[in-house]
Amino acid sequence: MIKIVHYINQFYGGIGGEEFANHKPEIREGVVGPGMGLSAQLKGKAEIVATVICGDTYFNENIEEAKTAVIAMVKKYNPDIFVAGPAFNAGRYGVACGAICQAVKNELNIPVITAMYPENPGVEMYVKDAYILETTNSAAGMRKALPALGKFITKLINNEEIGSPEEEGYIPRGIRVNYFNERRGSARAVDLLVKKLRGEEFTTEYPMPLFDNVDPHAPVEDMKNAKIAIVTSGGIVPKGNPDHIESSSASKYGKYDISGFDDLTEETHETAHGGYDPTYANQDSDRVIPVDVLRNMVKEGKIGSLHNYFYTTTGNGTSVANAKKWGAEIAKELVADGVNAVILTST
């Protein structure tokens, strides 16, 4: 018999509402709450041997301790599959479900599965770590969520191949799987275009990532005293590319001192970027990051100063997730260094 351990919060565990959200993790033999309905869906192929119950606030405020405690409890039952939720659109519950699925997968190396609403913050944080089945935004969706979970778990038990997110009802994890299509790409592309022109429904084969928009920052009021920094995705690096920034799909960014340079030259700088003809940038990197102009603008009193460091990476094929992470790190340092404005150049 396949053994399952189920994770739920204090509310579904019947302990209580918000006032019991600090409840420390405990484990009970057998099914509790939604586990009953889920168990019925498994049709005797698997058994929920134990249920972990933990308060949402406790989990989120003590995430490391909570994970350690829950892992220890789960381990004792030596389960084959771990299930958390469904969490619907409950934010802390969703984050807890995602985090504990990730921890169980890493520590016990068993399949983990949870279910929640696509906008639950737990999705963005843990969608790569667990199959997250899509649910509606409230517990009213329980009637549909449990059969979906049951069906998915049954597939796992039978070692059936898990299909695409659309087929199986889980939230896309950003994983691409190669397969052979009978029709060539150009024919499929023209079909899509024709559908689009006709205003018909079509499904893209390559969804674009979603980009965040942020409100424009207030303008610089005192440019004559402002400290300006340069950041670029054009791959300008000191000659020789000392940190070996990759020519595409960069895994890192560089931070380089330009305090000693009034002008970038063929001898001092070059580009590491592999996505454009590097001839012109290698001859004169000021064509990508205008160090010569900004130096003179400091002398002329147009700007207060040029920050001593510039930040750089190659922007071609670089993942949005990496770019976002580096952007946040770079912005934090720039703010800490008293930079007032940034000129970002891209090739």
């Binding site: 674009m208 980009f211 965040d212 928009n213 942020v214 409100d215 424009p216 920052h217 207030a218 303008p219 610089v220 009021e221 440019m223 054009g234 454009y276 003809d277 590097p278 001839t279 012109y280 940038a281 001859q283 004169d284 000021d286 064509r287 990508v288 990051i289 205008p290 010569d292 102009v293 900004l294 003179n296 603008m297 147009k302 700007i303 404005a341 000129i343 970002l344 150049t345 891209s346 090739t347």
Partner: protein, 62 residues
């Protein structure tokens, strides 16, 4: 500062200054050095102006 401004719009940049070409956004190798420098200077001036301009939405500073 970038040449392919539709990309900057897509990724959410707010103050956008169009530049010369992908491999040399802030230069033009076909110009003599002094004229190329002037071109670059004018583009950076435009960027400084953009940074000092109050905006409420994504704006391309032509």
């Amino acid at each position: 500062m970038c040449t392919i401004t539709p990309i900057s719009l897509t990724v959410g940049a707010n103050r956008i200054v169009p530049t010369v070409a992908i491999p040399h956004p802030l230069g033009n190798p076909s110009l003599p050095r002094d004229k190329e420098y002037k071109l670059r200077y004018a583009l950076v001036e435009k960027a400084l102006k953009a940074l000092q301009t109050e905006i409420t939405e994504q704006t391309i500073f032509e």
